[in-house]
Structure formats: C-alpha cells, structure tokens
Symmetry: C2
Amino acid sequence: MRIDGLQYANWSEKVFRQMRSGGLSAVHVTVAYHEGFRETVTNLEDWNRRFERFPEFICKGQWAADIDCARKSGRTAIFFGAQNSSPIESDIGLIEILHTLGLRFMQLTYNNQSLLASGCYEAEDGGITRMGRQAIKEMNRVGLVIDMSHSGPRSTIEAADLSQRPITISHANPLEWSPSLRNKNDDVIRAVTGNGGIMGFSIYPHHLRDGSSCTLDSFSEMIARAVEKFGIEHFGIGSDLCQDQPDSVVTWMRTGRWTRDIDYGEGSASAPGFPPMPEWFRDNRDFANIESGLRSTGMNDDEIGAVLGGNWYRFFDESFRSVT
Amino acid sequence: MRIDGLQYANWSEKVFRQMRSGGLSAVHVTVAYHEGFRETVTNLEDWNRRFERFPEFICKGQWAADIDCARKSGRTAIFFGAQNSSPIESDIGLIEILHTLGLRFMQLTYNNQSLLASGCYEAEDGGITRMGRQAIKEMNRVGLVIDMSHSGPRSTIEAADLSQRPITISHANPLEWSPSLRNKNDDVIRAVTGNGGIMGFSIYPHHLRDGSSCTLDSFSEMIARAVEKFGIEHFGIGSDLCQDQPDSVVTWMRTGRWTRDIDYGEGSASAPGFPPMPEWFRDNRDFANIESGLRSTGMNDDEIGAVLGGNWYRFFDESFRSVT
C-alpha cells in the first residue's frame, strides 16, 4: 500500500491518473496556505466538484477505512490538510467545524508566527502560545492531527510534549543530511517520534542534499539512517509534490498577503520559481523508483511497506477519530 | 414516536429536559434566519458545545437512524434547518458544505424576496428564480430538504413542481381555517402533498384560529379535516415553539438587517412581542395534549402515530441522503 503524506498539485485528471499509475491508495492534499475560513471552504467546494467529476480515480478520505475502500475500488482516497492555522482564524470552534468538513491535518504555523506557535523562518521561536495550548487540546479531542512541518524547533518540541496524541512533521528531512530552515534537527525528530508521531520524507528539492541534483541513492541512504536511528515505525513519505503549478503559486505560498515585499523563501532572486524535481521523482508514477532505492539500501519488503504506506495507514487509523 | 418539525427555543438544559418529558425523539431546530454563511457556522459551533454539554439529553441528528439511536438511549436527536437561504449567500457550493455540516432543511425564502424565490410578505410573487432552479437541483442532489413555510404561493407551487424529491412546509396551517399570510391555500397544500411532501401544523398563535385563545378542539378538528382532504401520510407537527426567547429575537426574525424601519410582521404596534402560547401547549411537555385532542376527533392510534411522528420519520428517512 502506498500513501503520500503531502502533495499540492495543480489538480487535474492527468494528476489523478498518475496517482493510479503510481499505486497511491491515499494522498494527503493541502487545502489552505494562507486562506481564512471562508476561502478554505471555497477550496473544499472545489474538491467536492472534483469528487463528482472524477469518481473513477478519487474519493473523499475521512477515515482509514476509506483507504481500504479506495484500494478495493482501484482509487485514491484524498485526505485534506491545512498548512497553516489561518483557516480557524481566531475561533477555536472552527477546529471541530473543519474536522466535520473533512480536515484531518493542520499545521500550527506556516513559516511565520501564527496565533498558535512560531514558524521556522522567525528569528524568535516563542513556543506554543496561550491559544496554541487550547488549540492542541481541541485538535486532540476532535481528531485533527497537529502538523509541525513549517514550525520552529522549540514550538515543535513543545507541541509534541503538550499533545496527548501523536503529531506529525508531514514533509521535511533530517537537518544533518541537508541544512535548511525547513529540515529538522535530531532533538525535534526525537520529540515527534517519541510521542508516537510520524515524519514524512520530503522530495521538494530545497529539502534535498544537492537540491534538484540529489541522487536516489543519497535520498534512500538518508532514509535508511533515520529509520535506524529513530525506529522504522515513525517514518513515511511526504513528497511535497507541487506538480504543474505555475510559479505564482509558490509566490502565494511564500508571501500570502502578509507582506508587500518580495520574499523568496527557500528560493532566491535568481531562482524564484518552483525548482525542478529530481529526475527519479517527476510525479506520482515514480513511487516505484523510491521502492527500488530503499531496496538497494538493504531494507526488506516489510520495512519498505511500512515506509511507503503502512506507517501512515496505522497513523491515520489512530488519529482521525474524536475522543468521546 | 414523537417528532417536532420546527422549534426555535432559547436552548437550555430546561428545554432539553422538557423534550425528554414530552417524549420527543427528534426535533428540527432553526440555526439561521438572516445569518450569512459564517454566522450560521457560529450557530453550528454553539450546537457542538450543546452536544458536548448535554449528552444525556440530546444528540446530533443527521440521518433517520439517529432517531432510532436517540430513542434507544432516551435522548432527542436534533436536526438542523435554516429558515432562509441567506446561509448559502450567492454560492451554490455552500449547499453541499452545509449539508456536510448537518443542515437538513433550508427555506428558499423568509417572508421577503430572496435570491431563490419570493417570500409570503412580498406584493409580487415572481416564482422560482434562475438561481432558485439551480439551488433546487443541488438541494435534491445532496439531500437538503426544500422548506417553503415562509414563501409565497406561486413560489411554493413551482418549487413543489420543480423538485424531484418531496418538499415540505415545516410549519403552517390551512388558510381556510385561519387567514394569515403565512397559512396556505388548498392549491399550495395540494402541490406540496402531491409531490409526496409533508406539512407540519404550527402552534404559533398567529397561525391559529383565535390566536392564543385557540382551543385544542378547534386545532384538532382542523387537523382531522386536512388529513381527510389531502391524505394522512402528508402531515406532521411543526410547533414553531419559540420558548423562553426575549422579544428581541422576534424583532430579529422580522427585521434582520434588511430594514431600518420597524416591521411588525404578524404582530402589531400594540403587540410587538412573542404572543403567549395557547394554554394546552405551553412547551414540549404538552405533546400528550395534542395526542388527546386528536383522539377525541376519532383518529385511531395508527393515525395519531403518523401525525405525531411516524410521517416525519419516513420523510427524514427518504430525504437526507445524497443521490449518487
């Protein structure tokens, strides 16, 4: 079973067909970066239309059982996540409302300080805020997973400690393999895996050693080492595939409406757009390459199955139900 | 089984306890009069809090099966409805979003012209609008019941004819029994019942013959006559109980934010507030009185059971699922 822990493609029949070719049973897709509540709902409306238009390829994912259903019918279950806490605005009641609408992941921050925590691009990481503590409690209650991919180290460690349920870093890599504000040091990875959580390995070039030129061997060896260090059950793939998106989308991701200046984020003035993907992972059809890469590190079938989907499946199964 | 097809009380533990005393297995409650989408969501958040606070009395109703579950556990299932189309603003995609959040009824209009149809207080009833036709189709698809309680006669008849699924007048009475802009003439009742729909008899005093002084005998005889004329399977109770509400609430119902003038609606300058309920129906505890009233008209147990809840149960069971 293959599950991708994060994608934000320019959704189309082509992309959904490629998910099928790649054998993806479930994909966590982003429905908000900087959008407020009403705009996020509009994005969910767009997904309702896609489920109507492409019922032979995709179905709405709300529970782990929907992955089983998708597999049986040869489809991909689409699970919603927000990369920021902007969709709940300053209203904690919206956590349950969005969960009812299908949201299953929410990042507490996206690069910047939020009402809940500090982002990984801030000079100061003040940790989890007053509202952040309340939000974590409420997300735990309703079954909305805390995702700290774009948060600062202190905020992430505090979130892992405060949360009564496992949390995630859905898409990032170990800092020691590739230095980047978005990659995670050992203390952070230990906090997240120590609370039972999962980290998804990112294939976004700015998170890779040597960027777009990163080799499959290097990526696979990095996985093998992390798995050895922190335990195989705590890792999956979160490809961060942003397929077919115009560069205006990466500009939106980086600047939203929070700045009038240009902010290149992980890019630069000379390379402001989306970086090219490594040649061994062009799109969803290339999950078989990752499987080969992992195999050549000496991982066996069970281990490869856990990293490529089994761990996410277990995590979905444990995480999305409300506590009653 | 007793089901009330419309209430808008000042919700409290007291009211929920009285629902249990009255043996109510389900109640359709109003969550919007003039609220836009975001405000309606806030009202749904308030209901989420009530379900948390009073789990021994109430539970969220989404499907007919939730009524069975409520009966077994000695609770009342609460089904959401909007008395206006204001919650969908001008966005047809919000119909499915609100259905996902639990909305099961939506009036196309509340007294005034809406984007979808004409209200019963307008001088001109232009019938179903262009967007109204699209909304009816979409409501039919997702399983959101069209409620025409506050609509004009032409709009109501057109809605019944256009709708592929049964519609409702959740709370009103026959015009011939008590003349009121809110009560319905035979052509309207025939259109709604003819499409398989249901009308709920209102106990709101302005809809009753002799208002607050209406006798139980008169009310019961009116029911017996309507049932005889249009068929027993097409009627239920929609009490329109507005218990414990301050008069500011009836002002909100009548004027929302659409006027700067005072509009007394069914009231008057000398009696601008909520009218007193008839002495035989003070609150939810008095459903037994209606049962006695119906029995004294000669109706048998099956017929009484159909009007007090059985018909609504069947209607809920047929109406709330999406067409796939």
